[in-house]
Amino acid sequence: MPATYDYDLVAIGSGPAGEKGAAQAAYFGKRVALVERAPHLGGAGTNTGTLPSKTLRETALYFSGLRQRGLYGIDYSLREDLTVRLLMHREEAVVQNERRIVQGNLDRHRIEVVQGEARFADAHTVRVLLPNGGQRDLTTGIVLIATGSSPLRPAGVPFDRTVIHDSDSILHMDRIPKAMVVVGGGVVGSEYASIFAALGVRVTLVDSRSRPLPFVDREIALRLQQQLERLGLRFVFNDRVARVTVKGHGAELDLKAGERIRCDIVLFAAGRQSNVNGLGLEDLGVRMGGRGLIHVNENFQTSVPNIYAAGDVVGFPALASTSMEQARVAMVHAFNLRYKERVSPVLPLAVYTVPEISMVGLSEDACQEQRIPYLVGRALYEQNPRGQIISDMTGMLKLVFSPADKKLLGAHLIGELASELVHLGAHVITAGETIDAFIDAVYNYPTLSDVYKYAAYDGLGNLARYREERGGLFA
């Protein structure tokens, strides 16, 4: 790489992908600049997406008494002073802290942050329009595009950030509504629908499909649906919004099937699109697909060899966790670091609904579709001592494993700490181990992790019956 460039790497965007990619390159001695158009660091993950919604979720659990499930007879749900301001005060503190952590990480790695709008002048020159109206050209060997995504706004919907919201503006609403409609039962829609239901809002969730979270194991999704219905959430499946209008202080929705719903606030959570406008990618010949998704190879390299892209801007799964890993892999390839050459195919996913759910590996549905023989083992939180202590009567772990060799294929959780517990299953899958790994281990007592052992015992029981039914084939 000729030394004539100002930088070895220019990263565009300071979200999880931009930050971690920049830090990785700088750690290995590269000269790095990072361009961010917003006045603050952290990207959507910090500022409008992951962190604020998870913070709101914690607050909702706390104030609703759901976290302790009213065990002590103290209930906050009808508190008069429960305002958006109180909920958001806390969110602001978490976001500020996260921005400081990102800033600290960039400082530690001596990464230069340039604030402004980036646009490619050529493949090796990023032109930054500075806030003061000036511009600055950064020449570089490698560029990492990590500009993230924005909510997709369906045509004909009168988004006004007061009554009709997308997932970016919903956290800026000024009052807790009494009634709310969420359109779209994907991750974002399901998370917000459950959080507001926990806060006592009458929530209706409308989705054109027949169940929430179609990529989640059916049994887990059904358990989630039942729990949310218990919280008072109403699901309308197999239907779409035909028309939405702002009426007075609220909204009126007409569904295709004929139902009319009145509510205070509508949240459209209908997917996201890449933030690529204004970058000038078309002129460079960077190949893109629908919704602005940048095409990349397995090294996260675009069709222009010195330009890489990672995170939401390349599409599924668009999670902070994977975005970071993609950016690290991109940098290893770009600078030949021989350090981390691929993103682990074992990808734990967490959805922060109330209750939270998580999964790794194959679901039952996926095994059926792919005709992979499988057995399951289940354990309920209510039979686990720690589950009893926290009184989580919904929680469950389901293991999916191979009947031939007991190898673990998938782990699916719903309930408290699902997002943490999934990593134990992920590590066992990565190691290619069997469900005996859970039988052999001692787990702390009382912990929820122990459900792995009891799900494995249940699995062994199912395996014994399976072998018996097959007439001593294995005897």
Binding site: R90, V94, I101, V346, Q388, V422, A441, Y445
Partner: protein, 468 residues
């Protein structure tokens, strides 16, 4: 009258219950003898389950889980009473679960005091005084342990408690002196401190929880200090006496400490009185723990022992596994022939502590060239969100090949998070496992990855730069 069983188990705590269930699962005829009115042992009455219940409730009612975010704590008038009510509920539920499990496995539960006779016979004295003799092919001793009462402490004073009687108090005291920085001492110190009690914990050793990595013990002590707990180490208590306004503990260095109540948490002893160990030919060590071999067999043929009665670590998790392994060896069932080499240890203090594998000191003393990696929960998004970001994850690994040899966690969920590191050690894995793995965001589990990065950085600093 005499009755024959394949297995007679003495004691229906975690070891007894799981050992009995294991044998019954493999079609053995099993009886279990329990001196208390209900099964479950201290795990459900005064030990692990109640402590964890109190701990969770104390964290919630004190608002500790939200203190970083300055949210108001729930407004409970008498938190101790609420916690006791909750503890009773959970204890009842878990006792029932043990009863159901015994019933489901067709295990005969016999109430009474057991005494070992020669030739694997067990005499049971029923509550009414009636005596029965059971004959067994195998006997599993799982009578558990009781709190140790040191000399010089007036245990008969109504304000002096051990870890069992403390659960009977009517209301939380103004001030509490905890004698012993053991697991129980740390648990109760932090639970009472969370409820607003002025707590002093005193220990003769140089740091709390001597089995814990010294650095992590310091981390825990700092967190304790932040909660207002006074930690006094390297101080031996010579005597406790009643004075005006409370109880006074005299330290050997001349100082004294005064508190309204005293909690003795200075270890446990085997509960073997009246079992007839000597006559049955069972050996014990100098501390009174029953001696067993790697199969958990005692010196008496056909008699096995598991759980607290064979000595440290005295954890329910370990007790259950020991009993399962003992039963498998006793009957030649090839299912579970050894306990976990990397069994994790845990303390349900606030914040929690958990560890597995070697401490840094153990690794260095053992001549291992090792390096460490750390990640503080203060920089972990999930820990910040949940409002209680004290503590850190510390990895200890071999310099030569990055093999993970120890994991140490202080912080909320430590008891759950430790199992990831435990599994990687089982695999003989390196810290690269955490680098390669994807962790869901935001989670506390992510701290493993950043601790591994920190470890790599320290490694690169101590060696000449690796060729690129």
């Amino acid at each position: 009258m005499s009755t024959r069983y394949d297995l007679v188990v003495i004691g229906a705590g975690p070891a007894g219950e799981k050992g009995a269930a294991q044998a019954a699962y493999f079609a053995k005829r099993v009886a279990i003898i329990e001196a208390s009115a209900r099964p479950g042992g201290i795990a459900v009455s005064t030990g692990g389950i109640p402590t964890k219940t109190l701990r969770e409730g104390a964290v919630y009612l004190s608002g500790l889980d939200q203190h970083v975010n300055q949210l108001p704590a729930p407004d409970a008038e008498d938190p101790w009473r609420l916690l006791m009510a909750r503890k009773l509920d959970v204890s009842e539920a878990m006792t029932k679960a043990v009863e159901r499990n015994l019933l489901r496995h067709g295990i005969e539960l016999i109430r009474g005091r057991a005494r070992l006779l020669p030739e694997r016979r067990v005499e049971v004295e029923r509550p009414g005084g009636e005596r029965t003799t059971l004959e067994a092919e195998v006997v599993l001793l799982a009578p558990g342990s009781r709190p140790h009462h040191p000399t010089g402490v007036p245990m008969d004073d109504p304000d002096v408690h051990d870890s069992e009687s403390i659960l009977g108090i009517e209301r939380a005291p103004q001030s509490l002196l905890v004698l012993g920085g053991s697991a129980l001492g740390c648990e109760y110190s932090s639970i009472f401190a969370a409820l607003g009690v002025r707590v002093t914990v005193v220990d003769a050793r140089s740091h709390l929880l001597p089995a814990l990595d010294a650095e992590m013990s310091q981390v825990l002590a700092e967190s304790f200090n932040g909660m207002g707990i006074r930690v006094v180490t390297q101080a031996s208590v010579s005597a406790v006496a009643r004075v005006d306004g409370g109880l006074e503990a005299q330290l050997e260095d001349g100082r004294s400490l005064v508190a309204q109540k005293v909690l003795v948490a200075s270890g446990r002893r085997a509960r073997t009185e009246g079992l007839g160990l000597e006559e049955a030919g069972i050996e014990t060590d100098a501390s009174g723990w029953v001696r067993v071999d790697e199969r958990y067999a005692t010196a008496a043929p056909g008699v096995f022992a598991a759980g607290d009665v064979i000595g440290p670590p005295g954890l329910a998790s370990v007790a259950m596994e020991q009993a399962r392994v003992a039963v498998c060896h006793a009957f030649g069932i090839e299912f579970k022939m050894m306990t976990d080499r990397f069994r994790p240890m845990y303390v349900f203090s606030i914040p929690e502590a958990a560890w597995a594998g070697l401490t840094e000191e153990e690794a260095r003393t053992g001549g291992l060239d090792c390096e460490t990696g750390r990640s503080s929960f203060a920089t972990n998004a999930k820990a910040r969100i949940s409002g209680f970001p004290d503590g850190l994850v510390k990895l200890v690994f071999r310099v030569s090949d990055k093999t993970l040899v120890g994991v140490h966690i202080v912080g909320e969920l430590a008891s759950e998070l430790i199992h990831i590191g435990q599994f990687v050690m089982h695999e003989g894995g390196t810290i690269d496992h955490f680098i390669d793995a994807t962790f869901a965001v935001p989670t506390r589990s992510e701290a493993y990855k950043y601790a591994a990065y920190d470890g790599l950085m320290r490694l690169s600093r101590r060696k000449p730069a690796a060729p690129r």
